[in-house]
Amino acid sequence: MSMDYFKYLRKERMPHIWCPGCGHGMVMKSILRGLAKLDVDPNDVCVVSGIGCSSRTPGYLDFNTLHTTHGRALPFATGVKLTRPDMKVIVVSGDGDAMAIGGNHFIHSCRRNIDITLVVFNNYIYGMTGGQVSPTTPTGQRGTTAPHGSIEQPFNVTDLAIGSGATYVGRALDVDSVAMDRVILNAMKHKGFSVVDAWSQCPTYFGRQNRLGTATQMMEQYKEVTYNVRLANKLTDEEKKGKFPVGELHKKERPEYCEEYQMLMHRLGAKA
């Protein structure tokens, strides 16, 4: 797994803004390992983000990079992809960015099945603005805008993606980088809209407010509330209750948007 990350990093943009113990760097590195395996020309890669901690990722990466407005990365990315279907387009987004303010774009990108990979850096909290609850914050957990514990039901990122029509959906934990590499690489290889619910810990805000301990303790807790989807058949319903499957959760072949558009143009006699 040794690779030269600086091949893809903008060294001069370091140090990054992420707090000690934050998992975002691990997710970012997993994306880079995937791109290295795909061996694509960096000139043909576009990484798009919205606003938030995770959305600072593109600034550190030596590709065509686009840091858009809050929640809107997917529409911007769609414009890039439609113009340049040959480009590898990756969207990095947080749980607030992708699931709250960008929720509408999320479900419609799934439905459209455009060949973009969305990696949701899911740490259950708004980190950049100081620890407010997000649409993925578990019921009962605290944030600065839910000091008595959240009374809302969270979104399940992967269920929403599958229900909305995404054709590749996976979940991965930053603590298990081998598994995360597999899911992110397969998501990027997949032709169609792919979603990876990438769990990352925020010890600074989520951990502290909910007394979850250190970053490593939080990562251990992530392991305790998940199970490998490949072992799902061997576990009883009781054992799976309240836990989240990790791994490749959904894969389906369905016409991809840009290809359908190419076919439409062909049918109308246009030169593509």
């Binding site: 943009r13 960096p42 000139n43 043909d44 576009c46 798009v48 593109p58 600034g59 030596d62 590709f63 065509n64 990079t65 686009l66 840091h67 858009t68 407005t69 809107r72 997917l74 529409p75 911007f76 990315a77 769609t78 414009g79 890039v80 992809k81 439609l82 113009t83 340049r84 480009m87 509408n104 774009h105 419609h108 558009y261 439409l264 143009m265 109308l268 006699g269 246009a270 030169k271 593509a272």
Partner: protein, 387 residues
């Protein structure tokens, strides 16, 4: 002899034709009255000529997809009306900040809120200037006849590309839906401007920074995928495109965004004067209200009143110099508009308190008829005679 391409088009259709003539090859939009015909027209035409059309999930996504497309090299546009235009404001600010050329058509209907979806209005005029937050550059064009919609849409694209900034085409519903005869000029006679590009040598691409201003303060632009791998953000940024919190960098950027419009102002200021040389009563109008005004002025002349019309075509940047010249002999100024006096404030700002300024306003979904403006001209004429 080649036959002329003469058609009977609606304003919205002429706008779509103009966009295609300007090289528009990307449209992202969301249906809304009274602009939907533009999207419908483009959805039919673009896939036939190798362009892209996409209907997005809302107007926020529509302007987003347009900005992404433009960064990747498309000539991109969207079209909407008041409520959708409101939703687009944040991303329009992004396009101004990140200097991404694109065209936004706002077919104005009555507002605020859902307002009057099918009636004419000019009530978004100040929103086209001040809609998004922060100090920002605004370039706004407003046509008054169908034959002009075509050419002005071409110009909107040319200005957007030349200045690397979003340009708003503010059309009122009358112009959007009315049908008139239009002669489509032959393709070779249409001037099409493309974004300023740096030299595309290996060295130039390797050393490229996206926000180094040229002589006219507009930075040359490479598209995504052309090898420069640069960063684009809505944050305050330096010439490399990366965020900067340095006071002098932020100051320079915010000032340059306005200055680049100011230094190019003469190239983008479009206006029309009718009988203004000796005009003692000057009507200042734009869009369909200017059509009524033209009739009122000629009726007033027949009655011996020295009336004239200054028609702003480029609404913003405001044609200050040109208006001052047209108003030299004016003893009274009349501003008819289908709102409660938005552009009148600008006219007052420029002409000052030395000359009385009267507004003729209507916000009931009815056009401003020539008779209303003629009444105002006659009243102003009588007042002037008393003095």
């Amino acid at each position: 002899m080649a036959t002329k391409d003469i058609r009977f088009l609606q304003g919205n259709e002429a706008c779509a034709e103009g966009a295609l003539a300007a090289g528009c090859n990307f449209f992202g939009g969301y249906p809304i009255s009274p602009s939907s015909e533009i999207a419908e027209y483009m959805s039919n035409r673009l896939p036939r000529i190798g362009g892209r059309f996409i209907q997005m999930e809302d107007e926020i996504a529509s302007i987003g997809v347009v900005i992404g497309a433009s960064l990747a090299g498309s000539k991109a546009m969207t079209a909407t009306s008041g409520p959708g235009f409101s939703l687009m404001q944040e991303n329009m600010g992004f396009a101004m900040m990140a200097e991404v050329p694109c065209v936004i058509v706002n077919v104005m209907r009555g507002g605020p809120s859902t307002g009057n979806p099918t009636g004419p209005s000019q009530s978004d005029v100040m929103q086209t200037k001040w809609g998004t937050h922060g100090d920002h550059p605004a370039v706004v064009i407003s046509p008054a006849k169908i034959s002009e919609v075509f050419g002005l849409t071409v110009k909107a694209f040319n200005f957007a590309e030349m200045l690397r900034t979003p340009v708003v085409l503010a059309i009122d519903e009358i112009i959007a839906h009315m049908r008139e005869k239009i002669e489509i000029p032959p393709k070779r006679s249409i001037e099409v401007v493309n974004r300023p590009a740096p030299r595309k040598t290996k060295k130039a691409i390797a050393e490229y920074n996206p926000y180094v201003p040229g002589e006219d303060l507009v930075p040359p632009m490479l598209n995504y995928g052309e090898g420069a791998r640069y960063h684009v953000t809505g944050l305050d940024h330096d010439e490399t495109g990366f965020p900067s919190g340095k006071p002098e960098i932020m100051e320079d950027l915010n000032r340059r965004l306005l200055d680049k419009i100011a230094v190019n102002k003469d190239k983008i200021t479009l206006f029309e004067c009718s009988e203004t040389n000796d005009a003692e009563i000057l009507v200042v109008a734009y869009g369909s209200s200017a059509r009524s005004a033209k009739r009122s002025v000629s009726d007033a002349r027949k009655k011996g009143i020295k009336a004239g019309l200054f028609r702003a075509i480029t609404l913003f940047p405001f044609p200050e110099k040109q208006l001052l010249k047209a108003a030299k002999k004016a003893k009274h100024v009349i501003v008819p508009e289908m709102n409660l006096g938005q552009y009148r404030y600008e006219v007052e700002r420029v002409l000052g308190k030395g000359v009385p300024i009267t507004g003729v306003h209507r916000v009931n979904g009815e056009p401003i008829l020539p008779s209303l403006i003629l009444d105002a001209i006659e009243k102003a004429g009588k007042k002037g005679a008393k003095k």
